[in-house]
Symmetry: C2
Subunit: 231 residues, 2 copies
């Protein structure tokens, strides 16, 4: 078979990306979802997504979708997996590549998000989503937990300065269980990626909790190599 016929005879498909966008705010793990604008299922809740364009990699497509919705770029994003069932999209046969992203809610453009009809909802408020988007979310949560066991990705969700109780709270949200204060503190400080600041955050207690910042160099070294970071 010639090159021509090999590629020319193959069927072509619509390919989309869908983004599971996690954030952390008010001590809750949240998800950014939108009201779908087009039929079928117009008006229903949906992950943010879009079609992969000609000359655009799937990674780039996911970055673009995220940027268009939240206004930010250069954020943590990983491919989850491809969803390729024939009938998953009731409007047409669409193969979707799902990505999950971790963003600092404080740093994103709320106005832009609102303009796109996007909303941050905490995990227990998540409604029925269109198509297989609830499955995607579940898979993303599983992946997030797996990933967090060996990589300190939790930091991607926090503002630049944060307190240890905040960080612990984040992991409690991710794993849906309480964590021992002392053990958590011990383990996290042992990683030696945190810089303790003089400032305190008194918003949640009279005594105030020390603010920390992570040491970007040490942090990225760990993030790259992968650390055992069981909580």
């Amino acid at each position: 078979m010639s090159l021509e016929t090999f590629y020319k005879n193959a069927p072509r498909h619509l390919v989309a990306v869908d983004c599971i966008i996690f954030g952390f705010e008010d001590g809750k793990l949240k998800l950014l979802i939108i009201k779908r604008k087009v039929d079928p299922m117009a008006g229903a809740w949906s992950l943010v997504g879009g079609f992969v364009q000609e000359g655009e990699s799937t990674n780039d497509a996911a970055g673009r979708v995220l940027r268009q919705t939240t206004g930010i770029q250069d954020i943590y994003m990983d491919q989850l997996q491809c969803y390729g069932d024939v009938d998953r999209d009731t409007g047409a046969r669409v193969i979707s590549v799902a990505y999950y992203a971790l963003i600092r809610i404080s740093e994103h453009d709320r106005l832009l998000a609102n303009a796109h009809g996007a909303h941050w909802l905490s995990m227990h408020q998540i409604p029925e989503l269109i198509f297989d988007h609830n499955s995607m979310l579940n898979d993303a949560l599983t992946r997030l937990r797996d990933k967090a066991r060996f990589h300190p990705i939790g930091f991607e969700l926090l503002p630049e300065k944060f307190t240890l109780p905040q960080l612990r709270n984040l992991y409690e949200e991710i794993y849906q269980r309480t964590l021992d204060k002392r053990n958590f503190r011990k383990k996290i400080l042992a990683l030696d990626i945190l810089e303790k600041l003089e400032e305190k955050d008194k918003s949640t207690s009279k005594k105030g909790a020390h603010l920390y910042r992570f040491d970007k160099k040490k942090y990225s070294a760990l993030a790259d190599h992968g650390v055992v970071f069981e909580i």
Copy 2:
């Protein structure tokens, strides 16, 4: 935007599946690869793959490709991830979904494989593969190791009856390090998924090693729930 234009205006893409097919034979972890039949890169080594057809899910496509090449079905297979770079295939823009499979070499159809120009090569013999197939293989190896830490998938690669030294050997191949005989034996037997047979395999020693078979019920319970199975 109407349903019509939303889906109709979106670009369509060639979508392929590529399979990283692992096997285990003669104490070596092996990979099934073929000589590519079409240009570009005709004659070069390649993973087995094919285009996703209309009305065919990506999972089904991977199953079909595997069946066509090896003659077997109902085997362990998982999606690895999607490879979506624009220029990854030099013949055309093709988005590929990679799958990895674990098969018992003894049970597959060698004649069929040969007819397709397929060859089993052990890991250290793997040549340069086309496109991004070497990356896919590396990613699959990483995934295999991760998966094997918590799921007893190693069994998928062995014949029905196997000896403990064989099983240990398999894990040594997967992890590329030697494992302590006694500790391995202790841990594997503690899982309580093995049935010891009376027969011995004397092909590798005068004394002979006991053959084992795994208890399918207990095995699948573990495989489903996921076990901590650190070696």
